[in-house]
Amino acid sequence: MAEHTLEIALAAGVLSPLISFWALVLFGPKLGKPVAGWFGVVFGMGVPLACATYVLFGWMDAMNAGESAALTANAWRGTWAVLGDVPITIGVKLDSLTVAMFFMVTFIAFWIFFFSVGYMSGHSDEVAGQRKYWLFFAYLSLFAFSMLGLVVSSSLVFLFIFWELVGLCSYLLIGFYFDKPVPQYAQMKAFITNRVGDFGFLIGLMLVYFHLGTVDLDEAATVFAQQAASGTGIFASHFTMFGWSLATIMGVGLFCGAMGKSAQFPLHVWLPDAMAGPTPVSALIHAATMVAAGVYLVARVFRLMTPDALMFVSLIGCLTLTLMALVAVVQTDIKKCLAYSTLSQLGYMIFGLGSGAWVAALFHLITHAFFKAMMFLGSGQVIEGCHHEQDMRKMGGLWKKMPVTCITFLVGVLAIAGTGIPGTKIGLGGFFSKDEILAVSYARAFEWEDPERFEEEHHGDGGGHAEVELTKRVLLASDPVQHDNDHAETAHSDHGTDSHAAGVGRIFANTPALPKWMFYLALFTAYITPFYMMRAWWLTFMGKPRDDHVYEHAHESPMMYIPLAVLAVGTVFASYFLFRPLIADAATAGSAASLVMAIDGTVHTPAIMAAHHFLMYGVGGAFLVGFLLAIAIYRNGLAVGDKLKRALAPLHTLLENKYYIDELYDIVFVKGFLLIAKIARFVDTWIVDLIVNLFAAAAERFAAFCGLILDKHGVDGVVNGVAKSSRDFGHIVRLPQTGQIRHYILAATGVATIVFLCVLWASSGANDVAMAATTASLGR
């Protein structure tokens, strides 16, 4: 294979959507309604998909031939600019993860573009007529460009640039129906919330720039590992915040970006609201790709994470996955329900990464992208077919009208629920990925108490297996600050095991039970997920029609269900055999030389085996439990559900209002400002004014007393005299203030000249003059 061919193909795949964007912006109106859409499909995504396919096969060949490592090492990169001493690199990150992500994004996005042609043909004229049609595809193309750019960037700076571009596209697309108020607020909310996260990202980026001195991902990781080993650079800093060292803050900062984009717990509020955008956008951006960018970022900066930072990641992921799954249970809007499910699944991924399940989290990302995109498209189909009815309570029995949608949606439900036969290798995507995340977190929670034993098991047991190499941890050193503190306590330091003991981190070291609780929460959610998904499916497609009007209109169109079918097939087949090996391959480099440990769930160490056994009995049947529960409750419509709702009224209200987080933000941030303003106003009105008024009243009385007697006769004369003289003086003083710029210049130059003359005068002798002039001129 010729050198750099794959990079060129990747670059072509990235640039083609950009060309499509410009072409649509410039010539969109001329292309007209269906043509602009097809143009977007072909150039915005068709070409990248072709490139991605080529790259995928090329990469597979290279992997089989054992050339992939060389290709990764030789991947093109150059210096874009040098800022200070730090080169700002630009380049292509060519490894299995990129290839897999690139293919996943292009494949899903292609079918969503395809779907959009059908979807927008009915929707585009709602706002600004034909104009919006091509604009939609232009935005989609720009999004594709930025997302693909994000995936292939090898430098953090370019990753950040594309990251922001992605955010911009999200903003533009959420508010696509800009004449309605809801999308406007939703787009602002998304944008502002993302900025909060990006601020953290920027802080992390600056720390990387200043302390690691490079912005290239690989180089940064190398430098980070070196600094960790030698305790220099960022590890030499004794700055701490919340008990975190600077290195941890760097990791947390970088993760903050992911928190915004992947909508993790405190910043998750924008994602459900973003469902106000067109459905293909929800499917593409807010389910499959953009939100996955955060997970991708965490995977990429995994090597820059300290154990403390990773624990934070894990905690955030765990909170998100549990809380959002519970909210999903009570949602009645079909898209909102999917949105909360997405949040929960993203929480799974982040939790997985935080627990060290690098492979499993990314694998889950890809499987999730397939089935969630498909479900969103299915919901789009339903909404479109039911005349923009989004309330599941008004649907029901749609399987007769929309068989393909119904079946594909069911496939998605099964996949997300993790359907499969426990103990075998038969199952849908979610079955493998979620199981692996849980297994790794189990191993992590229960085995890490005794890291030495874990180490022995990992190394001693699987010495012969090549795969064990994946699970290596080069360093488990914690922060040097931590190191110093613990040094006195843990005397044995020969093998670096003291730092192993501190591996959980400084804050979290005080809460050893935390990983276990997080594992239990994730386990619990594994039971909830099938329940709410089956609830959504059942309410929508099964049972009796609950609203005749909606039912009458329901229909499906081939333009829109072809992508559904394709993605369903992809969900069923492609994932485990295609993507799992690719990501496992990427894990070698992706987590090499990191301070934290990446654990491959398929490696059959005793710990992982134990986890698998536990899970097989613990959650193997979870999907059945959830399904049956959902069917039992909603079999005959909403009656049972309503009863339950009344029975659990407080809980239901809490969940229905999403834990009042939006209200909390409103109270703290919006109302807080208003409150401050009100307090200020109160102070002004009642205290300051009162004092002033009191003084005024007193003065008035006093003046009334004095004025008639003293003022008229004695004081006036004096005052008028003073006033007149001061007025005259004022006139004199005002004279130079002519308002004429030339007078000011005149005055300034005059003064400068006089000073100059004085200096010349003061320095006697030619040499002194010269010296004075020289120093004055040169500023020495």
């Binding site: 308002g739 004429q740 710029i741 030339r742 210049i745 005149l746 130059t749």
Partner: protein, 103 residues
């Protein structure tokens, strides 16, 4: 006949003073602008001359001169825009008439 640094500096000084004089005595806003351009040019001549005679192997003077030229161009564009706006409001570019903010 050797031309040294001082020669350039004196020419620049004359231009500088001429520019100042222009700024002091013109009532036309654009006239003042022309004076400013003259002053800036005098400054750049100084910069380049110092660069030539005093800066071995360094281009600081020339680069600074380039930035000055850039700033001067930007300033001229804005100032002409302001002049045109003043003209729109007052029907003249006489700076003596533009005294609404006078104290």
């Amino acid at each position: 006949m050797t031309i040294g640094l001082t020669h350039y500096l004196i020419v620049a000084a004359i231009m500088f003073v001429a520019g100042l004089f222009t700024m002091m005595t013109k009532r036309n806003a654009i006239g003042i602008l022309i004076g400013v351009e003259l002053v800036l040019n005098a400054a750049t001549v100084n910069l380049v001359a110092f660069d030539r005679y005093m800066g071995p192997d360094r281009l600081d003077g020339q680069i600074t001169a380039i930035f000055v030229i850039v700033l001067a161009a930007a300033e001229a564009a804005l100032a002409v825009g302001i002049c045109i706006n003043v003209y729109k409001n007052l029907s003249t570019v006489d700076v003596d008439r533009a005294n609404s903010l006078r104290g």
